[in-house]
């Protein structure tokens, strides 16, 4: 046994047991052992994405944890992996949706402008890496320091390519005003560069059932829905599926012909793009996406819904879907 491996970390009731040297945060320690937890704040205890349950052991709770987790969260055993230092044995529980994450460098193979503010970035992972994921999951992209950004910075992006596309994978990224990572991806990233990737993560994926499906997306949220629908085609699933895509103006629409093609080839699929802006000369549905869903669907008692978009869109869609009888437990969306 390595004499420097002083401490024992038991994960998920000894599903995995690590022997580590200690002295680092649990987040860094797990990463070193090949278990990547998501983190969007550089380990400052701000984003809460690295939360897990500590059943036994653990250093003193930090002020950042008190703020982020609250007394109720702390009382239930939640801790932030970036705040807890490994200075003794630990028993921890990590959500299974986070356990599959790998760390690797991937080469940027292609960058394409999809709209005025959305880009597709295609990556090629190392040839010897088995990068498999469920349609709907996300990865974390870490960019290097640049300009006035002095540290590496990570953000989560949903995968837009289907799992069957084994040699490369794609994300769709929408530029965020004053955003640290999207500014880098739009202004500095070039084909041929490499970036640090972690993942896949997340429990946003198509559930196994026979229920009809409503998908609603806006902006770059089209990406994971596209992945799910392509995966359905690859797996010969033919559950009745309606895909509502909302945008403001014509310049915000993309992949229209792609989805029209799926509609033409697969009778179980309907694609309904909608524009809420003032432009008059177009063939698409008119109004907010919530208004279009309201008038184009009947009761949704038996359906499942998959939502991907801004928090505002998701809030608005939840209200409409629940009013149509869709129970909350069958409405899925990424909570990040």
């Amino acid at each position: 046994m390595n004499p420097e491996a002083r401490y024992r970390i038991e994960i998920n009731d000894r599903a995995r047991v690590l022997r580590v040297g200690g002295g680092e945060t649990l987040l860094s320690t797990l990463k070193r052992e090949g278990i990547s937890l998501p983190s969007a704040c550089g380990g400052r205890g701000l984003c809460g994405m690295c939360r897990l349950k500590v059943l036994k052991g653990g250093t003193e709770v930090t002020a950042a944890e008190r703020k982020k987790l609250g007394e109720a969260g702390l009382a239930s055993g939640l801790r932030l992996a970036c705040q807890l230092r490994v200075e003794g044995d630990l028993e921890i529980e990590i959500p299974s949706a986070l356990l599959g994450g790998k760390d690797f460098r991937a080469r940027v193979e292609h960058i394409e402008a999809l709209t005025h503010d959305i880009r597709a970035i295609r990556f090629r992972p190392p040839a010897d890496l088995d990068f498999s994921f469920r349609a709907g999951q996300y990865i974390q992209i870490t960019i290097p320091p640049y300009a006035e950004v002095k540290t590496e910075t990570a953000r989560a992006y949903s995968l837009a390519s289907p799992p069957s596309q084994r040699e490369t994978f794609e994300v769709y990224v929408r530029r965020v005003p004053n955003g640290i990572v999207t500014t880098y991806l739009f202004e500095h990233l070039r084909e041929g560069m490499e970036l640090e990737i972690s993942g896949p993560f997340g429990d946003f994926f198509l559930r196994e059932s026979d229920r009809p499906i409503v998908c609603i997306a806006g902006g770059s949220g089209l990406g994971p829905i596209q992945s799910i629908i392509q995966d359905m085609i690859d797996r010969h699933l033919s559950r009745p599926t309606q895909f509502f895509f909302g945008a403001v103006n014509l310049r915000d629409l993309y992949r229209v012909e792609f989805f029209r093609g799926i509609e033409a080839d697969h009778s179980w699929f309907r694609y309904i793009p909608a524009l809420s802006g003032k432009e008059a000369d177009h063939p698409y549905e008119r109004g907010l996406i919530t208004e279009v869903v309201e008038r184009k669907t009947g009761t949704l008692l038996e359906h499942e819904a998959y939502l991907c978009g801004s928090p505002g869109m998701i809030e608005a869609c939840l209200r409409v879907l629940q009013a149509k009888g869709l129970p909350e437990e069958r409405i899925y969306f990424d909570k990040f």
Partner: protein
């Protein structure tokens, strides 16, 4: 709750820490001075930071459900609200706030205001409007002109102290 260390707060406001451009623009002054000057401006007009933040929030809330479509609010303001996934931490360490951008255009005065949930929090809780030269500075005088706020009574104890 311990009093925040303004030097630490100012460090977190630098470009590249929380946002690309940070919150201070080219303002060379210590944060305490920036806060004091804007505090004095607001106090002279007998309104509060909370009134200003509430007025902006009211306009943004009126457009939130329009999912980035521009809305005419109160028959005067053209408002667009965009929100993005992810959260921004307050430089004061007192919360996480939705990413995004709210734009309020007031054709009456010609002013345009760009802000987000974090900006509103920093005005409301700390009287912080951004440093000079910051593309996201919300000038208190311009806000007072555009928002038609009514002064409170004569006391200045409504104002938050730093």
């Amino acid at each position: 709750m311990t009093t925040p260390n303004l030097e630490e707060v100012q460090a977190r406001m630098q470009p590249g820490v929380i946002t690309l451009h940070g919150f201070l623009g080219h303002d060379p002054r210590p944060l305490a001075e920036i806060l004091a000057e804007d505090n004095m401006t607001v106090a002279k007009h007998m309104v509060t930071h909370q009134q200003i933040a509430s007025a902006l929030r009211r306009l943004a809330d009126a457009a939130r459900n329009d999912l980035e479509r521009e809305v005419l609010v109160e028959g005067r303001y053209r408002v667009t609200v965009r929100n993005d996934r992810g959260l921004l931490p307050s430089p004061w360490g007192d919360g996480l706030f939705e990413k995004g951008e709210m734009v309020v255009i007031d054709p009456t005065t010609g002013h345009t205001f760009r802000f987000n949930a974090l900006s509103l929090h920093m005005i409301e809780a700390h009287g912080f409007y951004g440093g000079r030269g910051s593309p996201y500075r919300l000038d208190p005088l311009a806000l007072l002109e555009a928002l038609d706020l009514q002064p409170l009574g004569t006391t200045i104890t409504d104002l938050r102290k730093h």
